[in-house]
């Protein structure tokens, strides 16, 4: 019996694309005026730990305001991501990318925060917080944070 290799190609493609998901969560980004005080940090995703998963690839992280953000050059916040190991230790280099509230964002529209893919090991945690602003900061409405991810299986 001979088997067309292309058929196996499709099967491999199926495995690689097998698990994808999208997860929304509600986050609060405190003004943290002047960059002083503790930044409010919200957990938005914890990587699942299925036995067949080697890692989680996060393709997109978006923020969606529940009321419009009017970008202003005078006062702003910088919204960033942070990544923690399963033991709660922060990575020295957080995921790349930010959203700055100087850029307007209409209610129910989304802005992508990450500028490259993010790899999480099973059980690791992704958070969002305010990591910088001017001396005053700006009030930020509630944000919906959406995580689009792929479970990369052990093969």
């Amino acid at each position: 019996m001979s088997v067309d290799p292309a058929a196996y190609g499709y099967e491999i493609q199926f495995l690689l694309n097998a698990i994808k998901g999208s997860h929304v969560s509600q986050a609060t980004v405190a003004s943290n005026a002047g960059g002083t005080g503790a930044a409010t940090e919200t957990i938005v995703f914890i990587a699942p730990t299925e036995s067949y998963t080697s890692k989680i690839l996060i393709n997109r992280v978006t923020v969606t305001p529940v009321s419009s953000i009017t970008g202003a050059g005078t006062h702003w916040n910088i919204i960033s991501l942070a990544q923690y190991t399963a033991l709660g230790v922060a990575y020295g280099t957080p995921p790349a990318g930010t959203y700055t509230t100087q850029t307007s964002l209409t209610v129910f529209t989304s802005a992508q925060v990450n500028t490259s893919g993010i790899v999480l090991l099973p059980g690791e945690t992704l958070t969002i917080k305010n990591t910088g602003n001017d001396s005053t900061g700006a009030a930020v409405p509630g944000l919906v944070v959406n995580i689009e991810y792929t479970n990369v299986p052990l093969i």
Partner: protein, 156 residues
């Protein structure tokens, strides 16, 4: 025996229809008498993957965190709304509602998406839930968990 490529294509398409679900908490504000702004909660955003053509939402269930005792006198109507990627709403929202005149036990789920086969969302579109109607008084509604079951339909 060679494998028939046409058959493989069909099988691959079927197997690649990925199904998943996403649960999120939602608050249904009283909005008594239909006046005032209805509190609206985003419950799902269709993923944007390079190999998908659209998302099919198969079920949208509401699950109360404490029991709802249906009452004929005062009620809320829980509905869905769908927004395009530019933030504008579709004129016709997804079909189906849950009215709190119907009792619903704690942790019992009810599907409110009643269209046969569910409904489609394009990548990046936003699904919300809110109170769209009630009697003159409305009814306090406990926190709801909204679960969205969906399939990712790939390009083939």
């Amino acid at each position: 025996m060679p494998v028939n490529q046409t058959v493989t294509d069909t099988t691959g398409y079927m197997l690649n229809v990925v199904q998943a679900s996403d649960a999120s908490p939602a608050t249904i504000a009283l909005n008594a008498g239909g006046t005032g702004a209805a509190t609206e909660t985003v419950v799902f955003i269709a993923p944007v993957s390079p190999n998908e053509s659209y998302i099919n939402v198969n079920r949208v269930t509401v699950t109360p965190t404490s029991a709802i005792t249906g009452a004929g006198t005062h009620w809320n109507i829980v509905s869905m709304a769908l927004y395009k990627t530019d933030g504008s709403a579709y004129a016709t929202p997804p079909a189906g509602t849950y009215t709190t005149q119907t009792s619903l036990g704690k942790y019992v789920s009810k599907n409110i998406a009643t269209a046969t086969g569910g409904f489609a969302m394009k990548p990046g579109e936003v699904l919300t839930i809110k109170n769209t109607g009630n009697d003159s008084t409305g009814a306090a509604t406990p926190a709801l968990v909204v679960n969205v079951e969906y399939s990712i339909i790939p390009y083939i």
